[in-house]
Structures are given as structure tokens and as C-alpha cells.
Subunit: 344 residues, 2 copies
């Protein structure tokens, strides 16, 4: 590995650092009136639309491990975590505020990488970096992100609108991010004492991508708008299907029945789970960090939803007394349990 240049944060000072990190972010979104560089960002939501706000924090050692998480990917993923919350409300993202807590040991070049990832995600989503804050932290890296988005009032979807007999729809497949994390943790353990570690990821690239660089499903927001579909309820999957479905049902005051054989699991997910003697269904139900969307639509929209092509119907809403239930291929039913996956 070639020697990398290492600039200390103290050499630039707080303002110099902020200038360097934000200089390539030019505001482009039509709703941004004032971006980085003042006391607050100014946003003018499109006429007749409402503004949506969400915030997320990521802590080193809890939410990510810098020994194998490239900072570029971390920047990208941090944007995904907040933008995904906006997608879950059926809104379009427009601005981002990034606050960092930095330990003195992190060099400026590492922050350049982090911001390169943030910039890549912002460009992909067409959103502006519009503010933030940089502080010292006593320990590791802390990222606190706030995203703003907008949507017409009649297209905003909450968690609470699911009705009896509604179909439960899911984008993408589940458990891949979790298996990506397990793979990275395994290679870290195995190679802990090796001089020039060469981790073995071959054949599992998709899992790494789903864990390190998940894309928020804003494409689904666009697709639903094109098709004229407004879900009755929606949530993004960050804690795992079981936990998040239970949240949606709690907010909507209903129960649910989902069918095990309809839960999409990618080939690489099943393959690695088998190799590691894990149950791929458990990874799909409780793994978390999928950043897919789970939503409900009235039964009458079944054909229209099926035609979307990228969405699976995995079950339906029931009366609240049913609770949340999982139906196995042989027709047996069990209660869906939201549990942390056995130790990572």
C-alpha cells in the first residue's frame, strides 16, 4: 500500500475544514434558497406541497466498524438511512444537513472520502447539502444527518393507514445486508492476526453491496406516482421485517398474516447462510438494515401492484386480534417475533 498524505484537522481549523469538505457541493435543487454557510438553511417547498423532516445518527462502534467499513461507503450509507425515511412517507428528498463528531485522530483525507460518498449519494438522489456542523467528539466518529423532502399532502403516507384485507407489499429482497455484515465480521475475525489480510468475498459481492452501499428506494416513490398508486400505510425496513411490520400494525391498529414462501431471499443470501449454518429465513425476518419499503394497498389494487414488477405481495392485513402471524408452506401458523438476531 502506498503512503497516503495525512493532514491533521488542526492544520485547517474548523472553518477551513468545512470549506474544504463542502466546496464541491453547489446547491442545485429548485427548493434550496440558502445552503451551507449561514446559521440555517432556507427551503421553499413547492407550492401546495408539505415539507418532511427526519433525522438519524450513526455511532462508530455501534452502527459501523471502521476496520472494514470504507468511509466513502459510510458517507453514502448515512445518506441512505435518512433518505429512506422520507421514501417511507412517499416523499421526495431535497436537502441534507450533516453534523459530524470527530475524534482528533481522524485525518482530513479520511473526511474527504466520507464526503465523496455523501456527494455521490446527493448527486444520485438530486439533493443538496444545505448545512451542518463539525465538532470534536471524545471518542469515535459520530454522524448526525437530517434530511428534508417534500410531497403533496394527499400523497403523504403514514404508518397508520393500513385497513382490513389490505395487501402487504414488499420491494426487493431481505436478509442480504445482514449476511453481508456477517461475512465482514467473519473475515475480520479470521484475519485479525494476519499481516497482509486478503479477505475472501468472492461470490458474495451482492451481499457486501447491500450492507455497505444500500440504495434508498426513492425509485419506488417515483414508480408509485407514475402508476397513480397511494399506499394506505408504509414503513422502511431498518430493524427487520418482523419488527417493522409489527410497528406498522401497531400504528394502524391491525394484525397481519404473511407467507413464508413469498418472502424474497436472494441466492447469495441463502448460500452464505447455509455455509455459515444460519437460517436464511431468520436473516430475512430479523436481520435488519434492508432499507426496502413495506407498504399496504387495498385489495382492489392487486393487479396494478403486481404489474409494477418490482414488488412482491407477501401477505395481507387482518383484524387486530390475530396479531402478526407467519404462515409456513405446510399451512402452519406461528406468531411473528421481532427479535434481535442471535449475536453478531
Amino acid at each position: 500500500m502506498s503512503e497516503k498524505k495525512r493532514t491533521e484537522i488542526a492544520e485547517l481549523g474548523e472553518f477551513g475544514l468545512i470549506d474544504r469538505l463542502t466546496k464541491e457541493f453547489a446547491p442545485k435543487h429548485p427548493t434550496t434558497r440558502c445552503g451551507v454557510g449561514d446559521d440555517a438553511a432556507v427551503v421553499a417547498p413547492p407550492a401546495g406541497e408539505e415539507l418532511l423532516l427526519t433525522t438519524d445518527t450513526l455511532f462508530e462502534g455501534i452502527d459501523f466498524d471502521l476496520t472494514y467499513f470504507p468511509l466513502r461507503h459510510l458517507g453514502y450509507k448515512a445518506v441512505t438511512t435518512v433518505v429512506s425515511d422520507l421514501a417511507a412517507m412517499n416523499a421526495r428528498p431535497s436537502q441534507l444537513l450533516v453534523s459530524l463528531g470527530l475524534s482528533a485522530k481522524i485525518p482530513v483525507e479520511a473526511l474527504d472520502d466520507l464526503y465523496a460518498g455523501i456527494r455521490f449519494a446527493c448527486e444520485e438522489q438530486g439533493i443538496d447539502l444545505a448545512g451542518g456542523d463539525t465538532r470534536a467528539s471524545m471518542t469515535g466518529l459520530v454522524l448526525a444527518l437530517t434530511a428534508a423532502g417534500h410531497a403533496p399532502a394527499d400523497r403523504i403516507v403514514r404508518r397508520s393507514g393500513a385497513g382490513r384485507h389490505d395487501l402487504i407489499c414488499l420491494t426487493g429482497n431481505l436478509g442480504a445486508a445482514y449476511m453481508g455484515l456477517r461475512l465482514l465480521e467473519r473475515e475480520k475475525r479470521v484475519l485479525a492476526d494476519v499481516q497482509n489480510p486478503e479477505p475472501q468475498f468472492k461470490g458474495y459481492e451482492y451481499l457486501l453491496e447491500k450492507y455497505l452501499k444500500p440504495r434508498p428506494r426513492t425509485d419506488i416513490v417515483e414508480l408509485l406516482a407514475e402508476e397513480g398508486i397511494v399506499p394506505t400505510a408504509m414503513i422502511d425496513l431498518s430493524d427487520g421485517l418482523a419488527s417493522d411490520l409489527k410497528q406498522l400494525c401497531r400504528a394502524s391498529g391491525c394484525g397481519a398474516r404473511i407467507y413464508l414462501e413469498r418472502i424474497p431471499i436472494a441466492r447469495q443470501t441463502s448460500q452464505l447462510a447455509e455455509e455459515m449454518h444460519l437460517d436464511p429465513v431468520m436473516a430475512a425476518l430479523n436481520g435488519g438494515e434492508d432499507y426496502e419499503l413495506l407498504f399496504t394497498v387495498p385489495l382492489a389494487l392487486q393487479e396494478q401492484v403486481m404489474r409494477l414488477g418490482t414488488v412482491d405481495v407477501i401477505g395481507h392485513i387482518t383484524a387486530p386480534e390475530t396479531g402478526c402471524r407467519l404462515v409456513t408452506p405446510d399451512g402452519a401458523e406461528m406468531e411473528l417475533k421481532a427479535q434481535g438476531f442471535p449475536e453478531k
Copy 2:
């Protein structure tokens, strides 16, 4: 001291904790469409107004010391830090998002205190808690706050609008919060090994209040609106007058001349500085955390500004070549230096 009840966070779980902390916050602001409990908050800014967003993070051990910072006050002050940024844009605050990073050792009762302070500040300012996030942190307490506010486009004030000969105006007095911090640090040192410490704060209650429970100057935003005054530039004083004035001048492309004898310093500030052999002027120029507002108005508004009663004119804007200069009572001029105050 009576034995306090101590509930572990794990007993409640994440959702139970959030329910407990947020249950007494009912949304009241007319612009809040959807508050705590969904993926994102929904805000509808008043017709014709723009929305302002700002974010701030506070780290235990860097920004506050829990050995002497009561959690109730910390909650209050955290709200002040973000709301102050909105006041600095001449905007009215309306919503707040609170993200917490929690170490496992903090009991639920301590968080009740923190949220009592946040609630008190929200009620005082008439703003809604509209979302947030609670996570584990590896070490100390981390608070990440986002505030949203609104203002008519033609009343929003940036840092960049100050013009030649404009008057430099200041609310309140400076250096008190810094001296409050010094007092708390002194008592902590003195009483470090004492069994039942009884810190000596008599006569300096105002300094403690300015440090522990500063009020954001949203009253000035109202006053300016009533008087029909729109400042040409504005900033809130968090880093210290010297540093923040230089920021304003940098953004506006101008210089400034301020007069030492016009800088308001409270009696308790001078008194404690003298007792501790510190220069009260240095505390006023570089102490920081004043959360007062510094703004500029055209010379023609001099009388109108003086009539406000709560504002001092401390100098005027000059050509950029002048730089930022401080004039002493004997007429001597020196360059205004933004420096961290000598070690705390």
C-alpha cells in the same frame, strides 16, 4: 440525599423509552401536520413563507460536563443552541427533532429530567417536538438537535448583507456565560475530594443562569417585526463576539470597527473576572456561548434601533481593507483577534 428510583433503559426497550419520553409532548404549532411516531415529521409552512432548518450536536465531555450540568438545564440549553440559529436568520421556530446517543449507564429517570428541560424550552418557545431517534452510544451522552422555523422570504436575514457604514448592534451583554463556566469549573476542582460538597455560587447566580440556561433571543425577532426593522445581516454569538463578528464580515465582504467601552458587560461578570484575575473584556470578546444576537442596520435606522431599548450599538461596518478593529477608550486601534480563550 434521598435514594432515587433507578430504571434501566433495557427494562423499557427502545419503543417503550421513546413513548415514555415523548408522551407529554402534544403537537400544538399550526404548521405541524405529523409529529413524533412516524418515519418523518410533516410540516406545512405558512402560505408565502419559507422554511429554515438548522442542526447542532452536543457531546458529553466536550460541550458539557455532567458532574455539574443538571440534565434539566442541558435539555433546555440544547434547544437554545438550535433555536438561536433560527433567530439569527430572523425566523420563528416551530419544530424540533431530538436524536440521542445514550450510554447504557444512564438511567431512565435522568432522561426524564433531560426531556423535562426540552419540554420546558419547547413550551416557552411555542414549538413542537416532532421526531427524533434514540441509539446506543459507546461512551457519553450525545444530543443531536434539528430545528425548523419559518419566515417570509423578505424578512430572512443572512450573514452576508452588511453594507458600508451600517451600524453594528448587539443584544444583551457578553462574557457572562463564560464566567459561569469558569465558576463551575473552579468549584468542581476545589470540591473534587470533599464528601458533601457545597459549592459557593452566592452573588453569581446570573452567571450560572447565562451558562446553564441561556434563553434564545426569539424576543428580538418579534421586536424587530413589530418595529418593522429588517437587519442587513445577523449572526448569533456562540463562538464569541470576535470570532462571530469576523464571520459576519467575511460573509459580507467588509470590515468593522467596534468600540471597547460600548461592549456591555454585566456587573457579576466583571466582579468574578476580577476575583479570578481574568480580563472581563477578554471574556466578553472570546468567551463564547452568549447566544445573543449581533446584527447590522443602515445608519439611517440609528434612532429607531436606539429606541428598542434592549440593543446597544457597538460600532459600524467599514471597508474590507480595514479588517475587524477594536477601538480602546483612549482612541487606540487594534486588530480584533478571534482566539480560543486561554485554557478553561
